[in-house]
Symmetry: C2
Subunit: 208 residues, 2 copies
Amino acid sequence: MPVQQTPASADRRTEILKSAAAAFRRRGYHGASVDEIASALAMTKGNLYYYFRNKEEILFACHEYSLDILVTLLDEVRVEGLPPDQQLRKLVLAFVHLILDELHGTALTLDLQALSPPLLRKVIARRDAVDRGLRRLLQQGMDDGLFAPGDPKMIAFAMMGAVNWIAKWYDPAGPMTSQAIGESFADYLIGGLRRGGLPDSGPPAPAR
Amino acid sequence: MPVQQTPASADRRTEILKSAAAAFRRRGYHGASVDEIASALAMTKGNLYYYFRNKEEILFACHEYSLDILVTLLDEVRVEGLPPDQQLRKLVLAFVHLILDELHGTALTLDLQALSPPLLRKVIARRDAVDRGLRRLLQQGMDDGLFAPGDPKMIAFAMMGAVNWIAKWYDPAGPMTSQAIGESFADYLIGGLRRGGLPDSGPPAPAR
DNA sequence: CGCCGCTTTGAACGCTCGTTCAACGCTGTG
DNA sequence: CACAGCGTTGAACGAGCGTTCAAAGCGGCG
């Protein structure tokens, strides 16, 4: 709760977070200047220090913001009680949508090492929780016989990598909508590459 | 060829590159200081400027170094003329090995945007060439009926993302060898997650 | 030994950036 | 109108960094 302030300034804080996230994504944490973040909002950099103690706290808040949404996503999908493959598909679709349309490319790609050890530990702990949720889902699918056996840890890493990497090449002006990307990724990551049944997914849609 | 110097100083240059790559990976391009790179080699930062014009040129050389190896890899695998799935498997194994054991986590994760437009264009052009090689391989596999139909572009991105992301979580002191990671990734990325034949791969080895 | 070219040093410069802070509107209330 | 507080400003600071450069070290050859 030290993060929360008055309701009035809460909007301002998230405005700053969005601007900062964009700057961090483009130039990296150290490459983005506080002035750059402020200028994009037509405010002076001194003013930022009314809302945040320092630059590091802004980065930390960005991470918290993304993780909040991510964790919520996982929980929402879980309570629906669908079979693991359908849960996974929903997750991938939602995750891609989240990264591209809401966070504009800023999810887990932000610098972690720039955080001081105490804050770093907090973020890593939550990120690991997300990882564990994903692994559990994979393990469950394997136990159910839906998925071929494998190492859930490795597969979870591979999936997260594939999705997080999207931010590196995605161009909003490009030919592919975030929706189409999400479905392509879900098809591949869940359905796999080799021939076999494709039970639930929509049309294959090889959208060039 | 402006990159090459006398044979004597070539070793020194690559030493610097390794140190710089490690620093860039840990703290990002802007976060790593020139002094930090030099100190790791027990030399003064001023000395770096005898081998490189400036910091940016060091980053560029790092990219070139990685890309050289990557392109060579692709070519080597291609000339063997194996079927696409086996070529892909070799590629993934070699790529994982390359990133973890030789580049120590520094492949395509280095800051791109830190390069000035002219250098940036060169790097992107070569990276795109690698992408195209991978896509061609995927397309060929689909045409041959080895792979389920899909968008080669998206799948190539997903594969590159999964592999490049490894650098973000890999811990050399961890329980998994780079070899085991490579095989897990190859199994998943090529064999797919769903049940179906696993033609060529070795033992499934769910190495916890 | 004495010279020469390659390599290294260490100090200095200039600039950028994160952070601080006293002073200043602005807005609503008594 | 006077006051109070939140929000904002802009200037100033100090530190760190990339870069430069004149001078020194060093090794081999004549």
